[in-house]
């Protein structure tokens, strides 16, 4: 038996709004809401009816709650010299409806910021956030590549995890925090054999669904592909197309590079030091004081982005930092598409295997 019965509870779909209302009474709840034009966004909700449960990846990933775009790290007061007080700003909240790709993104950030020297600002904030994941039973769209990086199924990283099994949700309880949420609700019941059969049926159907839309390379061969492709012509092609806007890194759930900025208040005595998302796609990103720029070409900067997803983190963290969410491709003004780039690299390196990834 793959599933442990005692770790599952069931919520009837008609009780969904009631369940969310109970959560809202306790804390700030953030969930995907529809913004029109096929766009979604994680925002605070007050009731279940505001939530768009069948959503495709939001414009910005939940990273915006873990490392906000602008994040104060200190306030200062120059009245008595260079006096600075490091601060952390945090908020207790519950994130509802996080897809498995975004759970993976949060896991990437957790690894980066727990690596020594640890980043206390991140770690304190992360511990205030409860996460309820939500399973995708279908492919979001043609940009998603979660199967390739094995993120289409849950790999932990949540307190509770919802799977739609028809007229009800099967909920996996993963942590003590999750158990406490379950204990507080009177809308949940323990899962039975029938619920497991339904969950298994949904997962099997999903495996068939997710076997289709694949990139023709084995998961284990991706690092080798990038070992070989450093001087690929594909980067030259991206060099001609990229407009260096930085959208791809802003929307990426595992991009965490930042700049540090001082901002004086109008009194010119006090102010703040904050960090702000930065992008390796900006020409100035790797520039030094003497004017030398170490990734002058846009193609080199795009390559750097891909290598930060598919090669460098393998050595450091033993995992891909591409979560397969597809946001970079969806948002690119120049239609640079991650799956197309991978396909071109695979073809060029002669590593095509049409059978790869089939179940």
């Amino acid at each position: 038996m793959l599933y442990n019965l005692s770790q599952y509870v069931v919520l009837k779909k008609e009780d969904f709004n009631g369940f969310i209302s109970d959560l809202v009474k306790e804390q700030k709840v953030v969930a995907p809401v529809a913004k029109g034009c096929g766009q979604f966004s994680f925002e605070e909700v007050k009731s279940g009816s505001e939530i768009s449960i069948d959503y495709i990846p939001t414009i910005l990933p939940p990273k915006k709650y873990f490392m906000p775009r602008d994040e104060n790290i200190a306030t200062y007061d120059l009245s008595n010299g260079e006096d600075m007080e490091p601060v952390v700003e945090y908020e207790k909240m519950l994130l509802f409806g996080v897809h498995t790709c975004d759970l993976a993104g949060i896991q990437c950030l957790n690894m980066v910021f727990s690596e020594r020297p640890r980043d206390l600002n991140y770690l304190i904030r992360k511990n205030q956030i409860t996460i309820i994941g939500y399973e995708c039973n279908f492919y979001c769209d043609r940009f998603a590549s979660c199967r390739l990086v094995h993120n289409h199924s849950p790999n932990g990283g949540y307190d509770l995890f919802f799977t739609d099994v028809g007229d009800r949700f099967m909920i996996h309880v993963n942590t003590n925090t999750g158990e406490e949420l379950v204990a507080k609700s009177n809308l949940l019941r323990k899962a039975g054999e029938k619920d497991f059969e339904d969950l298994q049926r949904v997962r099997e159907a999903k495996n068939r669904e997710f076997a289709k839309n694949e990139i023709p390379i084995e998961h284990e061969k991706i690092p080798e592909l990038f070992d070989r492709a450093y001087n690929s012509k594909v980067w030259e092609d991206l060099d001609k197309r990229c407009v260096a806007c930085g959208n791809c890194t802003n929307v990426c759930p595992s991009c965490y590079c930042f700049n540090m900025i001082d901002e004086p208040n109008l009194d010119l005595k006090t102010g703040r030091r904050y960090r702000q998302w930065d992008s390796c796609q900006n020409e100035s990103f790797a520039k030094v004081a003497g004017g030398e720029s170490f990734r002058k070409e846009r193609g080199a900067r795009q390559r750097h982005r891909y290598y930060r997803k598919f090669k460098y983190p393998i050595a450091k963290f033993s995992r891909f930092f591409c979560t397969g969410c597809g946001r970079c491709s969806r948002t690119c003004m120049a239609c640079i598409n991650l799956k197309e780039t991978l396909n071109s690299l695979i073809k060029e390196q002669g590593m095509e295997n049409p059978e790869a990834g089939k179940v």
């Binding site: 790290i73 260079e82 020297p117 590079c257 930042f258 001082d262 990103f285 520039k287 460098y312």
Partner: protein
Amino acid sequence: MKKLLLKDSKYEIKKSKIIKVTTLTDLEKFFEIELPGGDSLDHDPGQFVEVSILGVGEAPISVSSSPTKLGSFEMVVRKVGRFTSALHQLKEGDEIGIRGPFGKGFPVRILEGNDLVFVAAGLGIVPLRSLINFVIDNRRDFGKVSILLGCRTPQNMLFGDEVAEWTKRLDVNFSCTVDRADPDWKGNVGMITSLIPGVTLEPERTFAVIVGPPVMYKFVIAELLKKQIPERQILVSLERNMKCGLGKCGHCQINGLYCCQDGPVFSYDKIKGVPEAL
């Protein structure tokens, strides 16, 4: 949103005092810094600090003094942008913030007992001076010492007094070259690479330590390899934009390496196959 004072933040600065400022050239100024309570920086030669001027920002600056100098440390800053211009405005007695030291410096324990060839071009002498002075202060722990110095013009030469002393010492072989001479200059004229063929050395017991502008490394390394110095005994210090110093912000990344944590000092064998490094 709740706000908490963070006592163990890695971004906390030490409120430090500028105790001496000297104008070295039109562009470069020398600063001597005292940490709170006269504490030592406790750095290795080749490490760097993050210098803060609150309201202006923070920048990585290499430490120019040897750790054998206690009670204060020194740095030399060229005026090139907003932060360094603000730093140049400061006077003796003014305060700055210090974080660090950061990074991996020169492996002084490994260098002990070996012959050393220092190759410094331009501002490279600033961080390299931390090691040169360390070696001079512990002179008997090292073998033969050669210093090769290159500058654009005689007026660009930094630390003239110390250089004059190095030239006089019998336990240091010193040579110097300038790109462009003036009528009073009696020394070599030409690139720093032109000094290397003239150095006599025993390659298997020689460590070469190179610091200079990014474009210089390939050429100097090629000359040193011609001298049969093993790749692992060629040390370089690389310049990158080390914004946070903590291996997070991404600005200083060289391929899979973070210059601020894995460097700035690297041995050539570790980076020769790394694109973007040299």
